[in-house]
């Protein structure tokens, strides 16, 4: 079977959603989950604050056939630089979040991976391709 390209697109994170996620993360029993989740929530906050005035612009088609990739302006990249994890850190955080049960702790797991998805988008210096954009 030859390689084929997949895409994953998440819903946008509103202020309300981000605050709800922060509440879930605040009471997480695993300190590693709490630490990583808190940092990612702050990353999303910093991005949303910097991105508020960013107009939508043209980009290149996403390889999955859905959505468009739009590069972030350099000033936004610099603003959020300290808050966006590197890819190897994202991979490590994914392993930590994977310990959160999808059966017994689904809201927390969903919150964590939603924030991680954003990190995975921002680490490529592009506007996250959320479901409202495809």
């Amino acid at each position: 079977m030859q390689r084929h390209v997949g895409g994953s697109f998440a819903p946008p994170i509103t202020d309300e959603v981000r605050l709800r996620y922060a509440e879930l993360i605040d009471v997480a029993t695993d300190p590693q989950v709490q630490d990583a989740g808190t940092k990612l929530a702050k990353m999303v906050y910093k991005y949303q604050k910097a991105h508020k005035e960013l107009p939508d612009s043209d980009g290149t088609p996403h390889p999955s056939g859905r959505g468009v990739e739009v590069a972030l302006p350099q000033e936004i990249v610099q603003t959020i630089w300290d808050h966006v994890p590197f890819q190897y850190e994202i991979d490590g955080i994914a392993k930590v979040f994977d310990t959160v049960s999808a059966e017994t702790d689904k809201p927390l797991r969903d919150a964590c991976f939603h924030l991680l998805w954003f990190a995975n988008e921002l680490t490529r210096d592009r506007q996250p391709i959320t479901t409202d954009k495809i």
Partner: protein, 134 residues
């Protein structure tokens, strides 16, 4: 001289393989966390992240040993959050016909962003099944 299959044989083999996806109706691709099971026929492993319905028939007729899939419908509301680890290709009865590893930037199913978010969209672009000459 190595054993080689002629084009007629390759096409026949390829068509026979992809026809298995159509048994009983439209098949599907499950995206799951973790590594593939040891054998295709083994029980499913990992957390089910989402299911993408295949067209019926799933593939067009093979040509020079290659069959190209018809459109794969996106999962517009993923079931669970996690990191895509493998895909499981099922017929309409839910029997696994094949499976493939999934990864970000590599893997047979090459996800641009392999973090899946519950409620988000999972998309897979067109894909092919190839029966080689030898």
């Amino acid at each position: 001289m190595a054993f080689r299959l002629g084009t007629t044989a390759r096409n026949a083999a390829c068509d026979a393989i992809v026809d298995l996806f159509d048994v009983g109706g439209a098949g599907s691709i499950q995206i799951r966390t973790g590594a593939q099971p040891t054998n295709v026929a083994d029980a499913a492993s990992g957390t089910l992240l989402g299911t993408l319905p295949l067209s019926n028939p799933a593939f067009g007729s093979a040509s020079t040993g290659v069959a190209t899939a018809n459109a794969v419908t996106s999962d517009t509301s993923a079931d669970n959050s996690g990191t895509a680890g493998h895909g499981r290709f099922l017929n309409n009865a839910g029997t696994a016909v094949a499976d493939a590893d999934a990864a970000q930037g590599s893997g047979t199913i090459n996800f641009d962003n392999n973090v899946i978010v519950a409620g988000g969209v999972i998309a897979i672009s067109s894909w092919t099944v190839t029966v080689p000459i030898s």
